[in-house]
Symmetry: C2
Subunit: 259 residues, 2 copies
């Protein structure tokens, strides 16, 4: 498997027949045993919605990156127009409160903070755990499989940058590392900050696009990728680029309960 | 470097002189260049607080795990007592809205959802970006360096389990994988669910303990570990177990801006 194949989970899942571009699937349909069927209601109080202008969302996320960083600025991009068109609780929600998620959670390089900010926004807006899970999952696929950043301002606010890269993963460390290598710059550079601001704008716009589609379809969402396919395929929470870390010795998971 | 050393970031940082058990440090003190000094206010509207009973928090998180999963049940554990003692917005916040973070975000095995739930709660409660960052960072260290779960109910709600393990990382995939290997059970087993419920209870209780200390100190927090030490040491958002994935060929980061 070459790098592109190994790194692009959508290709992997398509090849193994696991992409289900079907509408309205629920987590219960993924074959989880009974215990995982939520006892709690999957619907809860949602915060309301009005169609978003994806360009406006992207621009707000981009412009506010430096003070907020990736997760909070995605929230800012999505919530600012909704505060105007819907009102509370968007007006009072402290988007700064999720700044901690930057750099893959406080700089630990785990999941890109844009995906935490985006999924948090989706959770408040849709008011449905299955819909949010499906969108969060599709955002993880989109992030890893897309050449980012997609968003490009007329003039760079903090620097001009040359390169765009495909991370092949939702992990901040690898995503930013691959781009830094291409661009030839350090993490603590204006170029890297510019790139992450543009990535945040890109993910905020994609999230707004998905929410607009959900809204236009009367509050239903057709997942592009099957939720929990990674868990079902690998027998553990995971990505699908196992050999990136395990080399050739990928452990064989126990697929049934018990010893 | 043996596994214990490689996996225990606190040991690594202590050895390299990067643990700063000093009170009241801010991100500005970590040597980040000017651009990273937030333009936005670091303080925002906080949601209020009253001292939490850590046992009560742990029990609520544990009991509600199955319907909510890791991130949301940590929020439930912390917010339920605060809804009683403080009131709104804890009373109206939909803890279910963050269920998507389970399994390292929708089952992708990235950062453990308990840490997303805990950090989200801290962000709303402290109303300060630096304090939240410091606590989130300490929770990441605590999670990776502690033999978990610490919480043990009188009787297992979904199964009895034998083993406790140290993940050496905040990553769900590795954390749950190491425990599954010890216990000899599959991911989709009641034993694994029981373990994750107990881990959620453990992290919820630790978070409440940290918040109680912050509250008792008049809303100030003394970080155990220096925020952003990983970034400063490695020149990229990261953990410190580089060789786990890179083998012996750990790339040399560009430490200064420009080519």
């Amino acid at each position: 498997m070459n790098c592109d194949e190994a790194c692009t989970r959508r290709v992997f899942l398509r090849n193994t027949g696991l992409v289900a571009a079907t509408a309205g699937i629920t987590l219960a349909a993924t074959g989880l045993p009974k215990f995982a069927t939520p006892a709690a209601a999957k619907s809860y109080n949602k915060w309301g919605y009005n169609k978003l202008d994806t360009n406006e969302v992207a621009n707000i996320a981009y412009e506010n990156y430096m003070g907020l960083f990736c997760a909070s600025t995605v929230l800012k991009g999505i919530f600012t127009p909704l505060a105007k068109s819907v009102g509370a609780p968007f007006t009072t929600f402290p988007v700064e409160s999720m700044k901690w998620a930057h750099g893959g959670v406080a700089g630990w390089g785990t999941v890109c903070g844009t995906l935490i900010g985006a999924s948090t926004a989706v959770g408040f807006i849709t008011g449905d755990t299955d819909t949010t899970e499906a969108m969060a999952n599709d955002l993880m696929f989109y992030y890893g499989g897309t050449v980012l950043p997609v968003f490009k301002p007329a003039t760079g606010k903090w620097a001009e940058i040359k390169n765009t890269t495909r991370a092949g993963t939702p992990m901040c460390h690898i995503s930013v590392g691959r781009w830094m290598q291409e661009e030839g710059v350090a993490f603590l550079s204006n170029e890297r900050a510019e790139r992450c601001a543009r990535v945040a704008a890109s993910i905020a716009a994609k999230t707004a696009e998905m929410l607009n589609a959900w809204d236009a379809a009367g509050g239903t969402y057709a997942p592009v990728n099957k939720p929990l396919a990674n868990v079902m395929t690998n027998g553990i929470t995971s990505q699908n680029n196992c050999t990136d870390c395990h080399g050739k010795d990928v452990p064989k998971p126990i697929m049934a309960a018990g010893k």
